[in-house]
């Protein structure tokens, strides 16, 4: 889990250099970049996962507009009779992750979207499902029935997407490539939101479910392995060897490199020893200076947000 504090990041980087463009070799969740997307600043963003890259295209870039009213009327229908469960590829999730009615809609939404001719429109429709899964999931966790019916929440999310499009200002370049294939762009600031290889969070679980759904199967374990495999060259580990040269290569053409992460249950001095010091050692040949900042979130649980800057 990471809390990306955009304004803190930009203010801190601005203290050491003039920041005019941004590069995120990886972003863990599309809406983390909402604040940056409202700045008039060129931004290059990558996510190697096709499911997450689609969310970035639809929610962050939004250059293909909103879901048309004609398509909404045609594809966001109410299912009047339960569908045959045996035909549903997601039936393994029944009563485990979703209820029967929700499964019918997950099947119907995925399949009916293939009838949408424009790929961009189809992606908007599918991307709405991610937000809906999140809504269902959070209510299910406490055994509560969601207040909105499936077609109502689909309508709500599509409307939210439409409203959100007007707020974008930045010049965005989206990539969806493995880390080793990305060329490091010349930018003012390269940001690495650190993700930890052993971390299990609700958002990770949701992303696995969505990834599996988008690929038409119910095997969330397989989806989780696929995701971990894709992020292998990027994720940070206290136990295994971290791919520092990969970080250094991706940040090589930036004036400032920012590494940010969130921690809990470990005091800051452990983070200094296990994360900050190794990064400083690896980056010292390329960047002569560094600055470390910390924000207290909850001292009772040793919860802090960290920001490490490298610059010359």
């Amino acid at each position: 889990m990471i809390r990306l504090q955009s304004s803190w990041l930009l203010e801190s980087a601005t203290e050491v250099a003039s920041i005019e463009s941004l590069f995120f070799p990886f972003i863990h969740r599309y809406s983390s970049l909402n604040w940056f997307s409202r700045r008039e600043m060129p931004m290059t963003v990558n996510n190697p996962l096709d499911s997450q890259a689609m969310l970035l295209r639809v929610w962050l870039e939004g250059k293909n507009g909103h879901f048309s009213e004609k398509n909404r009327r045609k594809f966001n229908q109410v299912i009047k009779k339960p569908l045959e469960l045996d035909m549903n590829p997601f039936r393994a999730w029944n009563d485990r992750l979703f209820d029967r009615k929700q499964l019918d809609y997950l099947f119907y939404w995925r399949e009916s979207a293939y009838e949408i001719e424009e790929v961009a429109q189809r992606e908007i429709f599918w991307s709405a499902v991610y937000a809906i899964m999140s809504y269902w999931h959070s209510n299910r966790k406490i055994g509560r029935a969601p207040a909105y019916e499936p077609d109502e929440i689909m309508h709500y999310v599509l409307q939210m997407h439409k409203d959100n499009l007007n707020k974008k200002e930045c010049d965005l370049t989206l990539l969806s490539a493995p880390f080793e294939e990305i060329e490091a762009p010349e930018v003012s600031l390269a940001v690495f939101p650190l993700i930890f290889s052993d971390e299990e969070s609700e958002e990770n679980q949701l992303q696995s479910i969505f990834h599996a759904w988008l690929h038409g199967h119910a095997d969330t374990e397989q989806a989780s392995r696929d995701i971990k495999n894709q992020l292998r060259k990027y994720s940070f580990s206290l136990e295994k060897k971290t791919d520092f040269p990969n970080y250094l290569r991706l940040g090589a053409n930036a004036d400032v490199v920012a590494i940010c992460w969130s921690g809990e249950e470990l005091p800051p001095r452990i983070h200094e020893q296990e994360i900050i010091d190794p990064f400083r050692r690896e980056f010292s040949n390329h960047f002569s200076r560094s600055r470390f900042s910390i924000k207290t979130i909850n001292p009772t649980t040793d919860t802090y947000d960290y920001l490490l800057l490298f610059f010359n």
Partner: protein, 225 residues
């Protein structure tokens, strides 16, 4: 006679010990009380700037504390939460007054300006060397939404610290109970519950909504306000 002298000495001794006890107690906690008084004062100013007739921030702090206790949060966490509740809109003091008082729908530019208030609040508290390090950060995130569409950082679900999820809920509930520039009438309790149910899992943490409802129902049946 001896008994009487003994009684007098005993009374003097008890009075002295009692005096010492209260003097010591006052000495041991004056800074916290003083800090709290200052904070309450700032909170009241922010309430007036926002156009609340009631002590909105104080109501929020009390409601937040009840939820926090139900969630088993520690005393330190509850103190921070109370401070953050009282100071949550301190950043609005720096915004143009007409922005807060208008009943008209804000355009994109003004909406953006209004949405800077959590950042301004955080900055103000950090500049003042506020004694509780975490409170400015809690103020920063009181407008985050559970589905990741809030501001300023669009944090989602468990990324939002529990205290901030509580603040977001009690701020909204407290506002629903009042007349606001954008809503002529205060909402009735059944309307508030309906609204919270609709926004559960979207704007609010569903678990906290259920706790709030449970506390509210308890208050209704127990005759508590």
């Amino acid at each position: 006679m001896l008994i009487n002298i003994f009684n007098v000495i005993l009374i003097i001794l008890i009075t002295f010990v009692t005096y010492k006890y209260f003097a010591l107690r006052e000495k041991s906690a004056p800074s916290l009380d003083r800090t709290m008084n200052y904070i309450n004062g700032f909170g009241a100013i922010a309430d007036r700037v926002e156009g609340y007739d009631s002590p909105h921030a104080m109501i929020m702090a009390d409601m937040a504390e009840k939820i926090a206790r139900e969630k088993g949060m520690s005393e330190d966490e509850i103190i921070s939460l109370r401070y953050a509740a009282i100071l949550h809109d301190i950043g609005e003091i720096l915004l143009p007054r007409n922005l807060l008082k208008t009943s008209e729908k804000l355009d994109e530019e003004n909406l953006f300006l209004l949405r800077t208030h959590p950042l301004l609040g955080e900055l103000q508290l950090r500049n003042k060397d506020f004694p509780y390090d975490e409170v400015p950060t809690l103020v920063r995130w009181h407008h985050e939404r559970f589905d990741g569409t809030g501001y300023p950082d669009s944090l989602k679900g468990e990324e939002i610290p529990l205290s901030c999820r509580i603040l977001a809920l009690v701020d909204a509930v407290s506002a629903m109970k009042e007349e606001r520039p954008y809503r002529k009438k205060a909402m009735k309790m059944n309307e508030i519950v309906k609204e919270l149910d609709l926004k559960s899992g979207i704007q609010f943490d569903p678990e906290l909504v259920e706790i709030w409802k449970m506390l509210f129902l308890k208050a209704q049946t127990g005759g508590e306000n």
